[in-house]
Symmetry: C2
Subunit: 465 residues, 2 copies
């Protein structure tokens, strides 16, 4: 049987080493097989690919080729491919799959993967998948679905390896070696007391290397975190990252062990949280993915554009106040976007640092005052530097010394306002329970635009006119 191992390669066949993406040639070969309706060839080309790579491939095809490929792939379609697929595409693919193929694909999956798969589906598709499961699995999935969407209860797997906390290493090893069925992947034996309260984690490595007479309680890991089923998955991901956890038990309201969360689940959550932060900071709807339709993508971005339109109009009203001033000196119209643009950029910088610091919990009540002071100082320092620089440019360009002084002062004021807005607004939103990544942008831009135009045009009106 050693040839089973011989064909394992350093990298999955067909993937280039450098970037783990399929080459154009491989994709062309696959599409050719689909065109020719050559099922044998398609299966041969797909065989070495990981489910995650097949899912990526499907995401990159156009809808027509995608459906044809899934249909031709037929019985070989794997449940793992569905799990790896972008959420936006799952309904589409499930709709194309033959009910028998779907049932078989779903039955191969572990219960937490099924939960992840069905939670975003429409009612009828959800039913179809639940019906395909065996009774025990169906109950497990339905129970998981009864927990809130981003809770530890949704994230955990039910399969846990436990041992009574009075056992020795020898007893635990004998139990494990005689156990009928163990989970596919597990890293710890969870020690429990008679009431199923988790008391500690023993790593398999430690178990392997300890004498049989050693008590399990003597080799538990130093760091031990327990999560409650209703705890938010963001907290779970944070704790995994902060305390370098590998797996951690989950307890119900009575502190009884009901499941375990492993680091790979936490990594997925962390990845999603980051994605959400980046997209929210840029004002892009959350579900944005390359497989969204034009209409979906436009809708996702329109909300932010609309809010931005309102703040831009507000800024215009400020300019309108000084229309007469601009009429007398058109150089003001030429220069004013510089003041606002520099303020907007500085505000975005501070806001991004603040949003990150709140997410990583580095910004707390303890250091808030000091950090605000630091940001304002940074704003003032850059305000002096860039205000000074711009004053030189204006003095040379327009030859009006007072105009140079006005733009320098306006830029300094705007930079300080940007720093203040960039840190105080996200902190206030966070304290009010609103995600600062989502809502800070429009407020900060409004502050920098309004202050920028008002300071520059207002100073100009009073000094130059």
């Amino acid at each position: 049987m050693s040839d089973q191992i011989d064909h394992i390669e350093t990298h999955p066949e067909g993937l280039s080493e450098s970037d783990y993406t399929l080459s154009r040639r491989d994709i062309a070969a696959i599409l050719y097989a689909v065109d020719a309706q050559d099922q044998a060839k398609l299966l041969e080309l797909m065989e070495p690919l990981h489910a995650a790579d097949i899912a990526d491939l499907l995401e990159q095809l156009n809808p027509y080729d995608r459906r044809r490929m899934v249909t031709l792939y037929g019985r070989e379609f794997d449940g793992d491919i569905l799990s790896e697929l972008d959420e936006g595409l799952r309904e589409d693919i499930i709709g194309v799959l033959h009910p028998d193929v779907l049932a078989e694909a779903v039955r191969e999956l572990e219960s937490d993967d099924v939960v992840d798969l069905v939670e975003d589906l429409d009612e009828p598709q959800q039913e179809a998948i639940l019906d395909a499961l065996e009774d025990a699995d169906r109950v497990a999935v339905e129970q998981a679905l009864s927990y809130p969407e981003t809770s530890a209860g949704r994230l955990m797997q039910r399969e846990v390896v436990v041992a009574p906390d009075h056992w020795t290493v020898g007893e635990a090893i004998d139990y494990l070696r005689s156990a009928e069925e163990l989970p596919e992947q597990f890293y710890h034996v969870v020690l429990v007391d008679p009431r199923m309260h988790p008391k500690g984690n023993v790593t398999l490595g430690k178990l392997m290397s300890s004498r049989r007479s050693v008590k399990l309680t003597d080799i538990v890991e130093d760091v031990f975190q327990v999560f409650r089923v209703l705890q938010d998955e963001a907290d779970v991901a944070y704790a995994f990252n902060q305390y370098h956890l590998i797996s951690a038990p989950v307890v119900d309201e009575d502190d009884r062990l009901v499941g375990v969360i492993t680091i790979d689940d936490a990594m997925t959550v962390l990845d999603e949280e980051h994605e959400e932060d980046i997209l929210r900071l840029a004002g892009v709807g959350e579900e944005a993915s390359l497989t969204d339709t034009i209409y979906e993508a436009a809708k996702g971005r329109a909300l932010w554009l609309f809010v931005n339109l309102l703040t831009a109009i507000l800024a215009s009203l400020v300019i309108d106040l000084f229309a007469e001033t601009i009429n007398q000196m058109v150089a003001l119209a030429v220069l004013m976007p510089i003041v606002a643009s520099m303020g907007g950029n500085a505000g975005t910088q501070t806001m991004t640092v603040t949003v990150r610091a709140l997410a990583t919990r580095d910004l707390t009540a303890q250091n808030a005052a000091r950090v605000v002071l630091r940001e304002v100082s940074v704003g003032a320092l850059n305000g002096v530097i860039f205000g000074g620089l711009m004053a030189l440019v204006v003095a040379v360009w327009f030859g009006v010394p007072m105009l140079a002084a006005v733009i320098a002062l306006a830029m300094l004021g705007t930079q300080v306002a940007a720093a203040l807005g960039g840190i105080v607004i996200p902190m206030a939103l966070d304290r009010a329970g609103i995600d600062p990544a989502l809502a800070s942008g429009p407020f900060v831009t409004t502050v920098t635009d309004v202050v920028g135009f008002f300071a520059f045009l207002g100073l100009a009106a009073s000094v130059l006119m």
Copy 2:
């Protein structure tokens, strides 16, 4: 010894359940002990805290309290705290620590943590730490440091559990149970051929649950990735995330096993990459953290502000071309920032989606044309919507129908240009080997500002004058 386990709590003592941060009261108690120079009290308060939480606490104190606390903490100062500390603070703390305390702290650490610790230090501090290590550890650390900074070689740990690929489960178990020393954490036994080429991974759980006579090659994991020492850590993190890896061997140029990378290292890299992306997209220097000094923070942001100043001046030059037009109709000055601002926002949205899709490798040569077309369509759709909306506003506000038509057309053009710039610029930078997160922003803003002002004022000049 079972009381060792009794004091393990669901959550580390002193941390609030909901957010894993120290309460103000606990921090006050710790600072009070420092003020009173009460070492016994300080040790008592710090004892239940995880090294990561102590590091966070140090980061939140002001420099004066921080140094006093480290000095009072004395001998108890742990190497793990140094590892968890923000890079910017390490030099400061190392400078405060007594050389003996530092030496002892460092000797407790695993070699890959020492590498992580020393790689960013100045030469003299680096020497001081290397000198504290035992010879074997020092060699290991120096060898790791000989690999490039973001390579798999730097990231891996040297301690690997290997077994010849002809062994049975029984032989492997006997070997593990008799081994002198096993790594603290390991998840797989790596099978190797006689030339030390890795051939497969066997999980400890599978080993535990298989009969003694089973060959190891028959129970290897399906998914098996091998990394080269010089491979970039970003590739490693991507592969861990894509293929749900737990640990993976690393080979040298001759394909011989030299180390192993585990999922917690990959999670850290993924976290850093995300952080970098978010900060780069906002034009904040990479090392930005709340412990940076005012000067460091200002410097980190000044580069981007300077680039932005240049693009803003460029946009002003465009406005200057139409100074005469503005002079005749000051409403243009009032309205032009709206066109540019809406374009800038749409450009940032598209750019962020593109940068993310490039990072997750969802945007490839295969679907590039289709995605560009989609983005342009989204831009056109939102351009029609918001151009139309703004035309209504202008018609009511200024009562000049032609001005309304001009702004609608200018906004449509700018939205399409923003979409095009937002996707084509990051793609071009990526193909040129430049990080699109770092450099796209200024280019995209330039495009949207220049196109926005030119389209609006140019149309106005030719239609309205």
